[in-house]
């Protein structure tokens, strides 16, 4: 997977400049620039209400921006009227995984998947074949031929992914695609997204899951308050932090401890939690713990991790990326 940060203009699948979205006067997106090249996987990360879904709605042609210019797959999206055939034709080249899994519940998974492939312009036989091939991987066994009404949340999510991919879109837009998926489903999703990009599709993925974004995205855009905060390859963004190891201490303290340790950057400190990065290869954990204890706090748990995009976001904005910072999906081990 590429980690390019400046896509070639000739291969741009998405080109937005100064994009803005307002909902009843509230700014959901402001002065937002985005470029996504064919074959690239771009992650959009941000906390709830940051503007991720608003951005994805624009890219999926689900709404028009209130400001800016937007070209999608070579077409000026603002020039296409709501009921035009050109807009429908453009939409047939886009695959969408919306944040909610809505289906025709009385139909089977296969019938739903075939319906979406047909809407994308495939002939009946081809639509059935493409949907069938994907269903065999994503909903194996007899599940595909059961009514969707009998599906679990995860199965519905898997079906949405099939519906978005069966017609081999040139642009794939995914809004929190891993929600409700089990570990095997997440792995399969990553594989399918990579395959889609390898075929030359541009992929834009909005998520709260930093681990997922780091694994699959060549470039990420960190969003807050409807504005772009940072953009780059995950590895490059994390490298900006300067630390190679991340320490997270769960505390019980009357107040945020004031800690100074050589070779350690304190990223955040509250009465319940302290996050720090080490600057060199030595282990500053004993010194850090000692300093925290000296500051009057009790240490309940310690985790040693490599820094991730949540830390990048925190340092750039001072805000947590997820609502519950202790309930992340990052791999961690107790120290």
């Amino acid at each position: 997977m590429g980690s390019r940060t400046e896509p070639a203009r000739s291969t741009l699948a998405v080109e937005g400049r100064g994009l803005g979205v307002r909902y009843r006067g509230r700014v959901a997106l402001a002065e937002f620039d985005i470029e996504v090249a064919a074959g690239e996987i771009v992650g959009v990360l941000g906390p709830n209400g940051a503007g991720k879904s608003s951005l994805l709605r624009l890219l999926a042609t689900g709404r028009r921006p209130t400001a800016g210019t937007l070209r999608i797959l070579g077409q000026d999206a603002l020039q296409l009227s709501a009921f035009s055939l050109q807009l429908s034709a453009l939409r047939r080249r886009i695959g969408i995984v919306p944040d909610e899994s809505v289906h025709a519940d009385a139909l089977t998974g296969r019938e739903n998947a075939t319906l979406f492939a047909r809407l994308a312009g495939l002939a009946p036989a081809e639509a059935a074949a493409r949907a069938g091939d994907l269903l065999a991987r994503v909903l194996p066994g007899a599940d595909a031929d059961r009514p969707v009404a009998e599906y679990s949340l995860g199965m519905r999510r898997r079906l949405v992914i099939v519906e978005a991919l069966a017609h081999q879109p040139a642009l794939l837009v995914l809004d929190e695609p891993a929600t409700g998926l089990d570990l095997a489903g997440r792995e399969l999703l990553r594989t399918l997204v990579r395959e889609c990009a390898a075929r030359g599709a541009a992929v834009v993925l909005a998520s709260n899951d930093v681990a997922e974004a780091e694994r699959v995205c060549g470039r990420v855009i960190l969003v807050r308050g409807g504005r772009k905060m940072l953009e780059g390859a995950p590895r490059d963004l994390i490298a900006r932090l300067g630390g190679t190891t991340r320490f997270e201490l769960r505390l019980r303290a009357p107040r945020a401890p004031e800690v100074v340790v050589d070779g350690v950057t304190i990223v955040s400190a509250t009465a319940e939690r302290l996050v720090a990065h080490s600057h060199d290869g030595s282990s500053p954990l004993p010194a850090l713990c000692e300093a925290v204890l000296r500051a009057g706090a009790t240490i309940e748990a310690v985790a040693v991790q490599r820094p991730d995009l949540a830390d990048v976001f925190f340092q750039a904005t001072g805000d947590e990326l997820s609502a519950d910072p202790m309930a992340t999906t990052r791999d961690s081990r107790s120290a």
Binding site: A60, S88, R91, R92, V102, L115
Partner: protein
């Protein structure tokens, strides 16, 4: 056949309980009136109102429900143009309504014994009115903001059009109201029903 049309038929045939209920409820109402020997003008009025509401609600409620849960938006974003989506759903829904009303129409034919020609006119009148009622339902659902609002607006719109179609009163010939009633599809269904039940 197009994808939406096919899906609509599949959905209707899959929901057998709904289909049976949709056929039985009007049948019971028609049976009560027809077998109860209600006067022909009253019977015709009941049948016209019943079939009009059947078509209007039959389209409005599913449309509003599917819009509310985001299904229509998904279909449109998947490449189904809104005019094409509306047309396919409308035609399928009107035809399904006609199928579901067949037992009721059959009972009317058996009880009132209109001639073959009048029966054909009745069939055409009901089919046309169902198409119009479904279109009205879709229009209302597109304007309304919720299911409850849809039901309310659909009732009001259908009653107003029935009134304009001369179902509740006969306008003086040559008046504006007389001209308007001929532009309302429900007028032709009502006339066909009146003829079928022997009022005309």
């Amino acid at each position: 056949m197009s994808a939406i049309w096919t899906a609509e038929w599949r959905l209707a045939l899959r929901r057998r309980r709904v289909m049976v209920l949709s056929a039985c409820v009007p049948l019971f109402l028609v049976a009560a009136v027809a077998l109860g020997r209600a006067p022909a003008p009253h019977a015709a009025l009941v049948y016209t109102v019943l079939f009009t509401f059947f078509g209007t609600f039959g389209a409005a409620v599913p449309w509003a429900r599917d819009a509310e849960r985001g299904w229509l938006h998904r279909l449109v974003l998947a490449g189904a143009g809104m005019p094409s989506l509306a047309a396919q759903r409308l035609l399928a829904s009107a035809l399904i309504d006609l199928l579901e009303l067949m037992p009721s129409l059959l009972l009317i034919a058996l009880v009132y014994r209109p001639g073959a020609a009048h029966l054909l006119i009745l069939l055409a009148g009901v089919a046309g009115a169902l198409l119009a009622a479904n279109a009205l339902g879709v229009l209302v659902a597109a304007i309304a903001g919720s299911l409850a609002e849809t039901a309310l607006l659909a009732s009001v719109a259908a009653l107003l059009l029935l009134h304009a179609g001369g179902v509740f009163r006969t306008p003086e010939p040559g008046t504006f109201a007389d001209a308007v009633q001929h532009a309302v599809p429900f007028y032709y269904m009502h006339s066909a029903i009146q003829t079928a039940v022997g009022y005309r």
